[in-house]
């Protein structure tokens, strides 16, 4: 077994056949982690002994029996730390399991390793983690993307089989593209958010990082489905995704939105994405240009709605019930002011201030209310487009991984990194990024496919077909 080339499905076959044992996976991963982590720093914590215990007791008859999954550090698991990349939660121990953790365990998987992230998932480079910088496994001078940069980097570095992340404006797909792995953002409501530390409630979704599309479908199958703990959870039965794998893309109607191919795209990215689109045509899909007219407003809409919700969601980090409390507190007000000043990072403060501003008296209609209306129009654009097309295709990110520190002083430019991924969150639809080639500098490029809400089966079908016809995912970074 070479752990760098295995997938969940290949490991499951070997486990079931008795060729390997679950603990062999832990040992092999441990070796790989030792080799890659000194340059990647994608994990915040991992506990090999605990993983071995869990591997030994794994029920191999379950769909993910014996498979370790790395978890972004903003998903609660009982008795584990859950820092969200923030000093504020450095000492917090989760007293409960997120629904996705319960579901993974029910499916026989176990959690191995907690991954780095931008503080409270706010960022596109993982440089806003309070604890460490994570490097891109393809070039350690570059960022891994964000906010789920830890999960993307360890799956990209092949030091995790699969991982969970969260995606509010592209936080799974953008780092997946930049790290050369498959990153999937399910439709809003498909995966329970219960236990995911909220950034922006109406946009957040948990989704898988994986080496292959098939693995993405396997993990989503395990974690998806109605959860009575979440009021916005979808009540529709979850389709069997595997049934849709292996079908061709013939006769699928694929839209190419012109707004996603304008200026500002790296020419190499553009060329690789175009090549992928040509492949779909060649395979018999009906590829046509389409329009999503409100695309240009996505960033504005996103930064108003996401920060507004975040300003409210993060108000609970107040130094009262858990987390950091300043030693200078003399009354409640100073407890809040100082605890938050001391323990929240600059980007988080910046977004809380912006979100508070757009909701404040006199500005609500001009900003928040207007943004909600434009959001409805964006959603309508997709509804109209999906009347004509099964899927929409675009680059995941306009550029490849940028150099560390490059955009730290310019928040607006950093925000623009999410330009192609935000719309799917705003519209609540599903989207997936998968590798579609490498640039001259050997940096991975991601192709984004978007499907209608609950259109995951077709999304997996087309992604899988593309993946099977290309060998991008089999290329391994030479970081170790």
């Amino acid at each position: 077994m070479d752990i760098t080339t295995e997938t969940i499905s290949s490991l499951r076959k070997q486990l079931i056949a008795g060729d390997i044992e679950a603990v062999d996976i832990v040992e092999a991963l441990d070796e790989r982690i030792k080799a890659t982590e000194p340059s990647v720093h994608g994990y915040l914590r991992f506990d090999k002994e605990r993983a071995i215990d869990q591997a030994k007791s794994a029920d191999l008859s379950k769909p993910l029996g014996g498979i370790p999954i790395a978890i972004k550090d903003n998903i609660n698991e009982t008795d584990e730390f859950c820092t969200c990349g923030s000093k504020y939660l450095e000492s917090y121990r989760a007293p409960y399991n997120a629904t996705v953790i319960e579901r993974l365990k029910d499916a026989g998987a176990y959690c191995y390793g907690r991954t780095n992230m931008d503080e409270f998932a706010m960022g596109s480079s993982t440089e806003h983690s309070a604890f460490q910088k994570t490097n891109n496994p393809w070039d350690k001078d570059r960022i891994p993307g964000g906010s789920s940069g830890g999960s993307a980097s360890v799956v990209g570095a092949r030091s995790a089989i699969a991982a969970l992340g969260s995606d509010t404006g592209g936080s799974i797909r953008q780092p997946a593209a930049l790290c050369g792995c498959v990153g999937m953002k399910p439709s809003y409501g498909m995966v329970s958010r219960y236990g995911l530390v909220a950034f922006a409630s109406s946009l957040d979704q948990i989704g898988p990082f994986s080496r292959s599309v098939e693995d993405s479908a396997l993990v989503l199958q395990a974690i998806a489905g109605y959860d009575p703990h979440e009021n916005t959870s979808c009540r529709e039965p979850v389709p069997n995704f595997s049934e849709h794998l292996g079908k061709s893309v013939k006769d699928l109607k694929i839209g190419v939105p012109k707004e996603y191919f304008g200026e500002g795209i790296d020419p190499e990215v553009r060329a690789l994405v175009q090549k992928s689109i040509d492949w779909f045509s060649k395979e018999g899909a009906q590829v046509e240009e389409t329009s999503l007219p409100h695309t240009k407003y996505a960033i504005a809409v996103y930064y108003i709605i996401a920060t507004a919700e975040a300003s409210s969601n993060l108000a609970r980090f107040d130094g009262v019930r858990y987390g950091h409390r300043t030693s200078e507190a003399t009354d409640p007000i100073s407890t809040y002011l100082k605890s938050r000043e001391e323990a929240l990072g600059t980007e988080v403060k910046r977004r809380i201030i912006l979100g508070t501003y757009v909701l404040s008296s006199g500005y609500y209609d001009a900003y928040y209310n207007r943004a909600q209306k434009v959001r409805a129009l964006m959603k309508h654009d997709f509804d109209e487009a999906f009347k004509d097309f099964d899927l929409i295709v675009s680059p995941t990110s306009p550029t490849t991984a940028f150099k560390a520190g490059e955009r730290l002083d310019n928040p607006l430019q950093m925000y623009l990194a999410d330009v192609f991924t935000i719309a799917a969150n705003a519209a609540g639809i599903c989207a997936l990024s998968l590798p579609c080639g490498f640039t001259q500098e050997n940096l991975p490029v991601g192709l984004q496919l978007m499907g209608p809400r609950y259109g995951e089966p077709t999304l997996f079908q087309a992604s899988h077909a593309y993946e099977q016809a290309h060998d991008w995912w089999k290329t391994i970074p030479s970081i170790a």
């Binding site: 609660n76 409960y96 979440e230 916005t232 919700e309 409210s312 107040d318 909701l359």
Partner: protein
């Protein structure tokens, strides 16, 4: 110059549910601190709310009892402000789409304080309109020590209904009557126990004064911290006087929040307008909006009780009770039910009402589980009706019922309380009364018909009260005639 007060109330009502508003923790008072908590009501990272259907149904029921309009669609908003007893530092509440719009409460005579009921200036039957009713979550409870405070989150997240009136209450007595009427209706619907002293009903008042006839509103103050309905009345009497004094001596009112101190009988400044909140309301993205029709509206409809005033009218019109009797019995749904249970066994409604109001209530019974079965009052009324015992004896029977227990029939038998109703034994005694009281006989014959009572009293005394009084009357009149 004459002034009038303009008062609006914000009434918070704890709903009777098993679980909290957005989580499955017990909605229960008196447990160990922080015993009924979970990630949701503690505002833990990652926890999400699930709305309690029962609390929504009860709020709609309150709205229907209070003649509100129930909009088809409702949703929750977040009200953002920091406070240590608020776990998420926003309160899930309703601003744009509350469960109930408008509504009203009529101020009936008996809702006013006793001493004001006969006051010709009391605004009997005035209708106070509601602005709306919305549903939200309660905050935790903090206790203050010398150098720190402690917080118990058991109450955090329990369902709380807020009833907001229009500013059309004009006196402390009206505010009192409003709260009494409201309380009665809420208890009737089993929406809340609504005990102000237990914090189940809490009331903040907004009050301003203006010269009578003026249409513009004066500057208002908010007054908080009243712990009983009479406390609200006292606070208002004081605050109205304070404001009138300031205004009439040429001063002006500062807009502020004041705290009522019931022991000192005064209000003091709590915070000024400069600290006014900017609540940054927005629709809660964790909660889906919901339709009130058909199911929630109909579920509330199934539970609509006969309201106190309707019941009172029925008691007067169909059961011949006086207004006072009807008012007392209808004032408490349990008492009314008890009364009606007795009436399933007799038609003597007036007698039964008298027994319950004059005698039974004097024993301060536990109306949740009364020791005396209601049917016993029916049995008693029947015994009087058929003449087995006199009304006077009925009183004696009740004394035994309350003190020793047992059914009226058994008591009558055991204590030998049967009324003497045969002429052959009473006639000799009546003759004896006439013979021994010539003065009374003379008075009677000279026209003082009331003198017969002295003769009757003699017979009653001789029979230890067992003689049938009507029969004694008949015999005496016949012998004297």
């Amino acid at each position: 110059m004459e002034y009038e007060a303009v008062i609006g109330l914000e009434v918070h009502v704890q709903l009777k549910t098993r679980t909290k508003m957005f989580c499955g923790c017990a909605n229960r008072y008196g447990d160990e601190p922080n015993q009924n908590t979970c990630p949701i009501c503690l505002g833990y990272p990652g926890a999400l709310p699930s709305p309690n259907k029962e609390a929504i149904v009860k709020t709609i029921l309150a709205g229907r009892m209070l003649k509100c309009e129930i909009p088809d669609y409702s949703e929750f908003d977040r009200k953002n402000y920091f406070y240590p007893d608020m776990p998420k530092n926003y309160q899930t509440s309703q601003l744009h789409h509350p469960l109930c719009d408008k509504g009203e409460v009529a101020l009936h005579k008996y809702a006013f304080p006793k001493e004001s009921q006969e006051n010709p200036e009391a605004s009997l039957n005035k209708v106070v309109h509601l602005n709306h009713i919305h549903l939200e979550e309660d905050v935790a409870k903090s206790t203050h020590y010398d150098d720190h405070s402690r917080i118990d989150f058991n109450r955090a997240g329990t369902p709380l209904m807020e009833i907001v009136t229009e500013a059309e209450i004009n006196s402390a007595d009206e505010a009192y009557a409003f709260l009494k009427s409201l309380q009665q209706i809420l208890i009737y619907g089993d929406v809340s126990d609504a005990d102000m002293e237990k914090g189940q009903l809490r009331c903040d008042v907004n009050i301003s004064v203006r010269p009578k006839g003026e249409t513009k509103l004066g500057t208002k103050c908010e007054v908080k911290n009243m712990n009983s309905i009479s406390g609200v009345r006292r606070a208002l009497v004081h605050e109205i006087a304070r404001q009138i004094e300031i205004v009439s001596s040429g001063g002006s009112i500062t807009q502020e929040t004041r705290r009522w101190n019931d022991a000192l009988g005064e209000t003091t400044v709590m915070r000024s307008k400069e600290d006014a909140h900017d609540y940054r309301y927005f629709t809660c993205p964790d909660l889906m909006g919901f339709q009130t029709r058909p199911s929630l509206f109909e579920e509330a409809g199934k539970r609509l009780p006969e309201l106190p005033q309707e019941k009172k009218s029925r008691f007067m019109d169909s059961l011949d009770l006086s207004e006072y009797q009807a008012e007392v019995l209808a004032s408490d749904r349990r008492l009314a039910d008890y009364f009606e249970e007795a009436l399933s066994k007799t038609k003597e409604s007036v007698s039964v009402a008298n027994y319950i109001i004059n005698d039974f209530l004097a024993t301060e019974p536990d109306l949740d589980s009364p020791k005396i079965p209601a049917q016993q009052f029916a049995e008693l009324a029947e015994l009087v009706k058929v003449g087995t015992i006199s009304s006077k004896q009925a009183k004696q029977v009740m004394t035994y019922m309350f003190e020793e227990g047992g059914s009226p029939k058994d008591i009558v038998k055991a204590k030998g309380l049967v009324q003497i109703s045969d002429t052959s034994s009473l006639e000799p005694l009546c003759q004896e009364a006439i013979d021994k009281n010539p003065k009374s006989v003379e008075d009677f014959r000279s026209g003082k018909k009331a003198a017969v009572n002295a003769l009757k009293g003699y017979v009653m005394k001789q029979t230890k009260g067992k003689a049938n009084p009507q029969l004694v009357d008949e015999i005496l009149l016949r012998l004297l005639g």
